[in-house]
């Protein structure tokens, strides 16, 4: 199975690899994993408290090329969006953009889960009502 050019590009030049200060009030951290393949993905966001815009996004992923590309793309997409806008990103968008084959769809699911987990962590820290977020996550 060959990786698409976009996957290879993200794999060779991953965007936004790194760490944000976990203890900062403005930072939300999402840590997710896929037991199927043993991948772990950490995605962090730094949110502007006034505008709720995600100003920084960093990730670190241990896993296959598709998992790295999915999280790299996810950080690119959520940067500059508001928290609510970022929640609109669906794993299927990532699948389409990266032309992921069916066996690698779970990598995109993981990236979507990571975005949600990071936002949910940020909301918890900042006392933003969790009800709505919990509802979306349960779907």
């Amino acid at each position: 199975m060959a990786y698409s050019d976009k996957v290879v590009d993200h794999y060779n030049n991953p965007r936004n690899v790194g760490t944000l200060d976990k203890s900062s009030q403005e930072v939300g951290t999402g840590l997710v994993g896929a037991p199927e393949c043993g991948d772990v993905m950490r995605l962090q966001i730094k949110v502007n408290p006034d505008t709720q815009v995600i100003e920084e996004a960093k990730f670190k992923t241990f896993g296959c090329g598709s998992a790295i590309a999915s999280s790299s793309l996810a950080t690119e997409w959520i940067k500059g969006r508001t928290v609510e806008d970022a929640l609109a990103i669906k794993n299927t968008d990532i699948v389409k953009e990266l032309s992921l084959p069916p066996v690698k769809i779970h990598c995109s699911v993981l990236a979507e889960d990571a975005i949600r987990a990071a936002i949910s962590d940020w909301k918890k820290k900042n006392g933003v009502a969790e009800a709505a977020a919990a509802e979306t996550a349960a779907q």
């Binding site: 840590l31 997710v32 994993g33 896929a34 037991p35 199927e36 393949c37 043993g38 772990v40 950490r42 670190k60 241990f62 794993n91 299927t92 069916p102 066996v103 769809i105 779970h106 699911v109 889960d113």
Partner: protein, 230 residues
């Protein structure tokens, strides 16, 4: 993909025409070799699907059947029987390899009963957070960071005794967790073997989760071993 177990359909022996509903390699009536049946690996050994297996008995039966199936014994037999001795031997080897290994056996039995294991269930776009061993994630992540550091240090030809010690400690810990998972798996084996349909369904669910956790831990131990040994 394996098919889900169905009750065996009686097959008539090609030689003596007596119908038998066991998926055997040899006709129970006239002892002639039979073409590979569509039965499962357990039936190759005349067993009902179960998880607590007598491994000595299994090995014994494997050797006995291997000898009986040996192509040399069919040198003067018909063309069909010659072919079947090869095909049955291949089936017997696959069956033995799968059943003698406790993890392969468990995965095989669960798949027979329709469970989706490993990569297979990931093909479906669904999420079930209860499947993710959340308590492990943090540790797994930290360990991966240390491994990366260790690989970088080795590449530069540097020694980092503190990191080395920490990784060895982690390895021991994850090996311990792996043992715990195996103990839990064995406990579920007995529940499955003895249980009714309800108990079996519950045990199956437990075992799928345990196997996920095990795969995770196994990969970690492998990675640490590789990095430390490199």
């Amino acid at each position: 993909m394996l098919k889900v177990i169905e009750s065996a359909v009686p097959v008539a022996c090609w030689s003596c025409a007596v119908a038998h509903n066991e998926a055997t390699l040899f006709c129970p009536h006239c002892s002639k070799i039979q073409p590979p049946s569509g039965g499962d690996f357990f039936s190759v050994f005349g067993l009902k699907p179960c998880l607590n297996l007598d491994l000595t008995g299994l090995e014994h039966e494997f050797h006995r059947l291997s000898r009986k199936l040996h192509p040399d014994r069919f040198a003067r037999a018909g063309e069909n029987e010659k072919q079947w001795s090869l095909a049955d031997t291949a089936l017997l080897n696959d069956a033995y390899r799968t059943l003698k290994d406790p993890i392969h056996r468990t995965e095989y039995l669960l798949k027979l009963h329709g469970a989706e294991i490993g990569e297979e269930h990931s093909r479906k776009d669904r999420r079930d957070p209860s499947r993710v061993p959340a308590d492990l994630l943090e540790e797994v992540f930290d360990l991966n960071m240390q491994l990366e550091e260790m690989r970088a240090a080795k590449k530069m030809g540097e020694d980092d005794p503190a990191l080395q010690a920490s990784l060895e400690q982690a390895k021991a810990k994850f090996e311990g967790l792996l043992d715990e998972v195996d103990d839990s798996l064995r406990a579920q084996w007995s529940k499955w073997d003895a249980g009714d349909a309800g108990a079996r369904a519950a045990a199956q669910k437990e075992m799928v989760a345990l196997l996920d956790r095990r795969r995770y831990l196994n990969n970690l131990v492998r990675d640490v071993t590789e990095t430390l040994g490199a």
